[in-house]
């Protein structure tokens, strides 16, 4: 418990197999942003491609990648990005298992994941990182570059490609099916 890892994206199985719930991670490299509407579009395309028996036309390759659930505030002139903390991950649970099946290796957000998502992380070997909700300014300082990738019409909900440096994260679900939310509550619960 509570080791510190500095890791780089894209993620491979060997790297993420070392991570256990409660570990602290400083993430470096590229992460893609996506939230509710972008997830819906990604999964719609995957399903459509499946039905039509063709390769899906996705705005970025999923293999080994990490998605960050965020909708940044507008940036002031001279800033790379506005405050950019995580949004609630549970809203993406409907879509996450299919993305994990297609090779996504990590997700970043705040709050609990659903049972199906936790199962899928174990099955397809992926991890869920918690970024501290509300630490939007601190996190924005660790984002060095931003580029729009797709769905610009969605404004703050578009897909952006972020280059991050030492993005501070906590492993909340590991590839072994463990859940820090459950374990943490059990450990610190006081029965009166």
């Amino acid at each position: 418990m509570n080791n510190l890892f500095r890791i780089e994206t894209p993620l491979d199985e060997e790297t993420i197999s070392k991570l256990k719930i409660g570990d602290k991670v400083l993430l470096n490299g590229i992460v893609y942003t996506a939230r509710d509407q972008a997830h819906k579009r990604l999964v719609d395309e995957l399903e459509k491609a499946g039905k039509e028996n063709r390769q899906p036309n996705l705005p970025f390759p999923l293999e080994g990648q990490v998605i960050y659930y965020v909708g940044p505030a507008p940036s002031r002139p001279g800033m790379v990005i506005g405050p950019a903390g995580p949004t609630t991950s549970g809203r993406m649970d409907t879509y996450t298992p299919i993305l994990l099946e297609k090779g996504l290796k990590g997700t970043i957000g705040k709050g609990r994941r659903g049972k199906d998502t936790i199962e899928a992380m174990k099955k397809y070997k992926a991890v869920y990182f918690v970024a501290v909700g509300g630490a939007a300014v601190l996190i924005s300082k660790r984002i060095k570059r931003i580029e729009t990738v797709a769905y610009e019409d969605l404004g703050p909900e578009a897909i952006y490609r972020l280059e991050v440096e030492d993005f501070p994260l906590i492993v909340a679900n590991d590839v072994y099916g463990n859940d820090l939310f459950d374990e943490g509550m059990k450990k610190y619960r006081k029965v009166t």
């Binding site: 909708g71 705040k110 601190l138 943490g184 509550m185």
Partner: protein, 280 residues
């Protein structure tokens, strides 16, 4: 009759939108520091340190504490001897919101239609609650409420015989189930009594009270204290990752109700407890 121009209202709302989003009141700072001192979990301590560091950076650089700058909820207490001149009062408020969110680089998070979901582009309209009170002052409180904690809120119509135990059990079970997603440490706003729509407003208004304040009735003050202790014993901790800092405060507001009803509302507030008030 005292006259206040709609332009004064607009300017006040603009300023409040920016200041409420970029600064925390002293009571919140104090409560968060206190939690850091007493948190048992190592992960919990790190989370609290990160939150405090973030909030310090935001204040220093005059940036919004959180990217979710909320749906703008506004509580107005209008003295009955006040008359707003030179324009529509609601328009004046919404103009202030639009200006504040544009000039403050705050995120525009409002869609015009709940199902067709096109962004209004300026975070309007605000949701405005107006109470008429004696006097010749106009009090405006702006509360930007993020969706993370708002989505984890609820209204429950209990049976009257469920009483104190029923209320406490529902609040505890709710926080245990949903609290982790609402960005703890939380302020738990509880409304008890009134009507279906009224009880939700009580729970929200409870969030305006300073942390550390008590319900004026000892019966409810004691209930606030008991619930706070029991919530912190749940073990959720900062961000729900385990620990003893789950809530900063529990605030209960009540109102008379029907003999056959016991309405209960819970409005959760994340650790970025943001609200600002001006009296014109």
């Amino acid at each position: 009759m005292r006259e206040i121009t709609s332009e004064e209202v607009t300017q006040a709302v603009e300023n409040l939108c920016i200041s409420s989003n970029c600064t925390l009141n002293e009571d919140v700072w104090k409560a968060l520091r206190e939690k850091l001192k007493n948190e048992e979990s190592l992960v919990g301590k790190e989370v609290l340190e990160e939150i405090l560091e973030n909030d310090r950076m935001a204040e220093e650089e005059k940036l919004p504490l959180c990217q979710d700058t909320g749906f703008t909820t506004i509580f107005v207490e209008m003295g009955q001897e006040v008359r707003v001149t030179e324009g529509d009062f609601y328009e004046a408020i919404n103009k202030g919101v639009g200006n504040g969110y544009r000039k403050g680089y705050l995120r525009k998070s409002v869609v015009k239609d709940p199902l067709r979901r096109k962004n209004t582009g300026d975070n309007t309209p605000a949701w405005v609650h107006i109470d008429i009170v004696p006097g010749n002052k106009l009090k405006i409180s702006v509360m930007p409420k993020g969706a993370g904690s708002e989505n984890m809120s609820t209204v429950k119509m209990l049976s009257p015989t469920e009483g104190v135990q029923g209320v406490k059990k529902f609040v505890l079970d709710w926080v245990k189930e949903r609290g982790a997603n609402a960005c703890p440490p939380l302020v738990v706003g509880v409304g008890i009594g009134g009507t279906f729509e009224g009880v939700a407003k009580l729970a929200k208004k409870a969030l305006l009270r300073p942390i550390g304040s008590k319900n004026p009735e000892p019966f409810y003050a004691e209930m606030e204290e008991e619930l706070l202790k029991e919530i912190n014993n749940l073990g959720l901790g900062p961000q729900g990752l385990g620990g003893s800092s789950t809530a900063l405060a529990v605030h209960i507001e009540t109102y008379p109700c029907h003999i056959a009803s016991l309405p209960l509302a819970i409005n959760l507030q994340c650790h970025a407890v943001r609200h600002a008030t001006i009296i014109l």
